[in-house]
Amino acid sequence: MPSNTAPSAGHYVADLEETPVGAIDQVDSSQKARSTWSDAWDSMRGRPLFWISAVLIVIIVAVAAFPNLFSHTDPARGCLLPDSNGGPEAGHIFGFTRQGCDVYARVVYGAQASLTVGLLATVIATLVGLVIGALSGYYGGAFDAIASRIGDIFLAIPTVLGAIVLMSVLPVRDPWTVALVLSVFAWPQVARITRGAVLSARNADYVTASIALGVSRFRILVRHVVPNAIAPVIVVATTSLGTFIVAEATLSFLGIGLPPSVMSWGNDIGQARVSVATAPMVLFYPAAALSLTVLSFLMLGDVVRDALDPKARARR
């Protein structure tokens, strides 16, 4: 503590209220360094919505991965026509479809197709969009011009419309092809967002510093620019998972997505449509399962966006 009075002066000198110059540069090194990710995790952890959606997603993924643990009935066999559109009974709590199949078992086994398509399409569209968007945002020039124009062309065709046309051409219809077709029309969205984020990150001071240190351009892109530009991409990916699941169901419902031999919620809703007046519950259960799944991913997307966007976090 420095003395308040100058050594030779007899008069009082007031306390220094401003921060001493040296202290401005002092960083409290005892405190742990905080990354965006640990901040985000702290923010998500405190929200009930995160836990609700996380638990729902874990359950849905478990059902999709091991349907036989959740249903004793094999939905592919044991369909008896006398049971057609029958109401709930012991062992068959959701009743029977028009073909006399167990609705509960079909709902459980249908999760796999929906989730596979949703996850695959999200991964493919995100990876392709991320790579193309990052390269065109970072390097610019001819690659950027060509990639952006190609992206514009794909963006001008609405996803479901393009998917209907493309699906009608493909000889094979399985979760893989549906996912591929959906991502063909979805990647430019991700590319555009990545490109924007990379553009704003590539002129940051840490990039200049890396260049000054002699780090190679590609290494700067991978190690510094992409990690700092990836937050909006993750937000879009989480939300688009739900959209892809709806798109698959819509295609299957139109009869142009997964073939009827594949058990999926979209197919089941399409088939239940015929007898909606006599057996509305047959339509209700797969529709509810589909909506609940989409809802879980939407809620997770909301929480992730709030957590990764500091502006949103401050607002809340």
Binding site: R149, I153, P158, L161, V165, V276
Partner: protein, 309 residues
């Protein structure tokens, strides 16, 4: 501004050709022989198939077919369907119906969505806000076709408030229920967008200034908060016009409306290349023009954005 519009229109040209080429390419590789399918079990006279293939240029290489098609566009000839109707006639019949449906849906979602979003944003954290958020999440996660069936069943079949399916010519009153269904998902998105945007702007400095200088609340809300909050909403509405046309495929199917959706879907199933490409081309044009329109509305909403040169 005129320069800007001109430049944007020029930029649309390559995108338009790219998109039609892409669709044409996909349709061209459709499996099966649509001509053989026309005749059923009895084989036609040997020369007939060849003559028809010649007429539709089916024997030419793909790129030549595409050029024939593009050439036709500039002379106002979009080809004929395989049953002999000109595609233009089909377009003229189907588009007005879907256009009416889409505009009705757009009006619903814009008016109701912005109103609900505005109120929710101004009362952030209150009961109305919370319930608006929950309802919008539910609307987004229930697929359109499910909502269509449910509303059709309860409102039309059970309660008899609406006609179950649209009558011939699809009069406006038969399109109200389909338009509500079509608008549902976007309505939810608009509520969420408007709410976030209004809540953001409500605490902005210019709003505080406006309040402090004694402007009536009504003026602060309409001129200062709402006008500034509408920019992201307008963007979304513009993009959504394309989605409405596509959503119509499902909605028109449920309510049996003879519009673009049904026509495109039938054409895809039958493998009618020229018909599919023409419909998609028109949809792509509408989509692109809507986006251009949105960029111009920006300038009206936000004086900071002016396309001088």
């Amino acid at each position: 501004m005129l320069w800007y519009i001109g430049r944007r229109l020029l930029q649309l040209i390559p995108v338009f050709f790219g998109a039609t080429f892409l669709i044409y390419f996909m349709v061209f590789s459709l499996p099966g022989d649509p001509i053989a399918a026309l005749f059923g079990d009895r084989p036609p006279a040997p020369g007939v198939i060849e003559a028809i293939r010649e007429q539709y240029h089916l024997n030419e290489p793909f790129i030549v077919q595409y050029l024939y098609y593009i050439g036709g566009i500039f002379t106002g000839d979009l080809g004929t369907t395989y049953s002999g109707r000109p595609v233009t006639a089909l377009l003229a019949q189907a588009f007005p119906v879907t256009f009416r449906l889409a505009m009705l849906a757009l009006a619903f979602e814009a008016i109701a969505g912005i109103l609900v979003g505005l109120v929710a944003g101004l009362r952030k954290g209150k009961l109305f806000d919370a319930s608006a958020l929950v309802v919008s999440l539910l609307l987004i996660s229930v697929p359109t076709f499910v909502l269509g069936f449910v509303l059709q069943y309860f409102l039309a079949v059970e309660l008899g408030l609406f006609r179950t399916t649209a009558g011939p010519g699809a009069p406006i009153q038969d399109l109200i229920l389909p338009a509500l269904v079509l608008a549902s998902v976007t309505f939810a998105y608009i509520v969420r967008l408007t709410r976030a945007s209004v809540a953001d702007n409500a605490s902005a400095d210019f709003v505080r200034t406006a309040t402090a200088k004694g402007l009536p609340r009504r003026r602060v809300v309409t001129v200062h908060i709402l006008r500034n909050s509408l920019i992201p909403v307008v963007t979304f509405l513009g993009v959504d016009i394309g989605n409405l046309m596509v959503g119509a495929i499902v909605t028109e199917g449920i309510f049996n409306i003879n519009g673009v959706g049904g026509a495109v879907f039938q054409a895809v199933i039958r493998g009618e290349g020229p018909t599919v490409v023409s419909f998609v081309a028109v949809m792509v044009i509408i989509y692109m023009l809507a986006n251009l329109l949105v960029d111009m509305i920006y300038a009206l909403l936000d004086p900071r954005i002016r396309y001088a040169k």
